[in-house]
């Protein structure tokens, strides 16, 4: 049997995942600034600032964290690292960061030049990353359940990106657009958030909830079928139209609701009951995602409701900020200190006397810090929700949002400083 293709120990250099993690909070802060100075962005759907806000958070923050986490997780779950060198990772990070800023500018000042630059940055950044990810994914078989979700999520990301590019083309340079938008804005958003974002959350939860919190495993059948079913309902919901599409959309929301109930039950049954803010972040996220599904179902049933209530915005804030971002915030509280510890330990293996003085995970990110992060995130979420009804309060919500991301960035920075200190 060949074992030489296996790279068990191929944890990537720290600078690759950490680089993504360190850049991402800056985009959260940028999003907060956009909201602070353009408060109408919260509710005016087609407002350029609103579109910039959405993409600063999804591409600048969430996508960068997820790419960093994928670099770290792939060798652990599959023994196949993503074959990305340090320089290439830097290029990916640089292009996606630049592309996100350019995209935001293109929304504000539509035109063919900015559009071309945005396109170039994303093609290089995502093109390089996704092609490397696919290279790693095809080498792996048989695929475990997490990998099924990662594969489907990567597919959704690709669809989202392509659809986004075409939409942007139409917006900024309609004369040169080669083909009509295949997916409309709603569909682009749906593939991005409920496809890519949610599938990663689902896949990660199957793996980490039993693992970190000593909870029962998710039923094998659910692990096998749920990601595919979610994806299929999205796909058919996009291809079909009329009442069949509505029925499928409703079905997919119900599936997500079922998932939230199941995951919450598993969390409740965890046997590791220590105070843990990652658990709180998961609970918040599952609750918010479930609520947002209820709002979506209400909208499907009573299409005239959104005329009276800001339901689309409500659902987006719950799902995005209360759900996806909360999962990311919660996971970072564990992944980052673990990563730093792992690298410190590797470097001290030859000096056993140093090993005993290494900071542990809770010294790298203390429970008190995570607790503050949790409160800041909850407060910012409440701020955003209240501002939907009291627009005057939007600048306050923006400040809370900024505080949330500044605290995250500062926490990551402090942990890294401690790491550096022990390295010397």
């Amino acid at each position: 049997m060949r074992t030489d293709g296996l790279n068990f120990d191929n944890i990537p250099p720290l600078s690759i995942p950490y680089g993504f993690f360190a850049t991402a909070p800056l985009f959260g802060v940028l999003a907060g600034l956009v909201l602070l100075f353009q408060p109408q962005a919260l509710t005016a759907r087609w407002d350029p600032a609103a579109l910039a806000l959405v993409h600063l958070l999804t591409l600048g923050f969430a996508a960068q964290i997820m790419l960093g986490a994928l670099c770290q997780v792939m060798p652990v779950v599959s023994s196949q690292p993503i074959p990305l060198s340090r320089t290439q990772a830097l290029l990916v990070r640089g292009c996606i960061s630049l592309g996100t800023v350019l995209l935001s500018l293109t929304f504000l000042f539509p035109g063919p030049i900015l559009f071309s630059l945005t396109l170039a940055a994303f093609v290089i950044g995502f093109g390089l990353f996704i092609s490397r990810l696919i290279q790693a994914l095809i080498k792996i078989r048989p695929a475990g359940h997490t990998l099924v979700s990662i594969r489907l999520a990567a597919f959704c990301l690709l669809i989202t990106l392509i659809a986004g590019v075409i939409l942007l083309w139409w917006r900024s340079s309609p004369q040169t657009a080669p083909l009509a938008p295949i997916l409309n804005t709603d569909q682009h958003a749906l593939w991005g958030i409920q496809g890519w974002g949610l599938l990663l959350v689902v896949g990660v939860s199957f793996q980490v909830i039993p693992m970190f919190h000593v909870a029962p495993d998710f039923p094998a059948r659910v692990q096998r079928w749920l990601p595919g079913a979610l994806m299929l309902s999205l796909l058919l919901g996009t291809v079909l139209d009329g009442s069949a599409a509505i029925a499928l959309m409703a079905l997919s929301k119900l599936l997500v609701l079922g998932y939230c109930a199941l995951a919450s039950r598993h969390l409740r049954q965890r046997r590791r009951k220590l105070l843990d803010y990652t658990v709180r972040f998961w609970q918040l996220a599952l609750g918010c995602i479930a609520l947002s599904m209820v709002v979506n179902l209400a909208t499907l049933g009573w299409p005239e409701l959104p005329n009276r209530l800001p339901l689309a915005e409500l659902s987006a804030i719950l799902f995005g900020f209360g759900g996806l971002l909360a999962v990311i915030f919660g996971m970072l509280q564990k992944i980052v200190p673990f990563l730093l510890y792992l690298h410190l330990q590797r470097q001290c293996l030859t000096q056993p006397e140093k090993l005993l003085t290494l900071p542990n995970m809770k010294q790298l990110i203390s429970t008190a810090r995570s607790k503050r992060q949790w409160w800041l995130h909850c407060t910012a979420l409440c701020g955003l929700l209240i501002a939907l009804w009291l627009p005057l309060l939007t600048p306050l919500a923006a400040l809370l949002l900024i505080a949330d991301f500044v605290w995250l960035g500062w926490t990551l920075h402090q942990a890294f400083a401690l790491y550096r200190q022990h390295l010397n």
């Binding site: 049997m1 074992t3 068990f8 793996q207 693992m211 105070l275 673990f338 005993l356 995970m361």
Partner: protein, 143 residues
Amino acid sequence: MTSISEFMTSDHRRCDEFFNQAEEAVSQGKWDEAQQGWSEFQQAIEHHFSMEEQVLFPAFEQATGSTAGPTSVMRMEHDQMRQLFAQVGQALGAKDADTLLGASETLMILMQQHNMKEEQILYPMSMRALPDPDNTLNEMQQC
């Protein structure tokens, strides 16, 4: 009959259980119980390690003709975990709950990602590579 995968996976869970008891006792300030739970955990996990280091890994290395592959990484991770056992043991002696819970959190995550590599990759691979997996399992169980 159980396979290497099933047997070792359930042994991981058994170790988790002891670990859990010890950690929870510490968080409630029940030091005697913690001591008890911790020594049960140590016993269970050292037994688990020796089944691997003395039987499974050598058999795997012989079957694949390589000592530099996955097993060397697994051995290294065992050593990394032993370092943390020492830290937790020290904190337990000093009844220093903060240091202990910090070290145990680190150990927990290290252990879980190690288990995941074994359960998802190494055990299934051993069952395919070993000439007589059932016999190896027997030897492991007598360890």
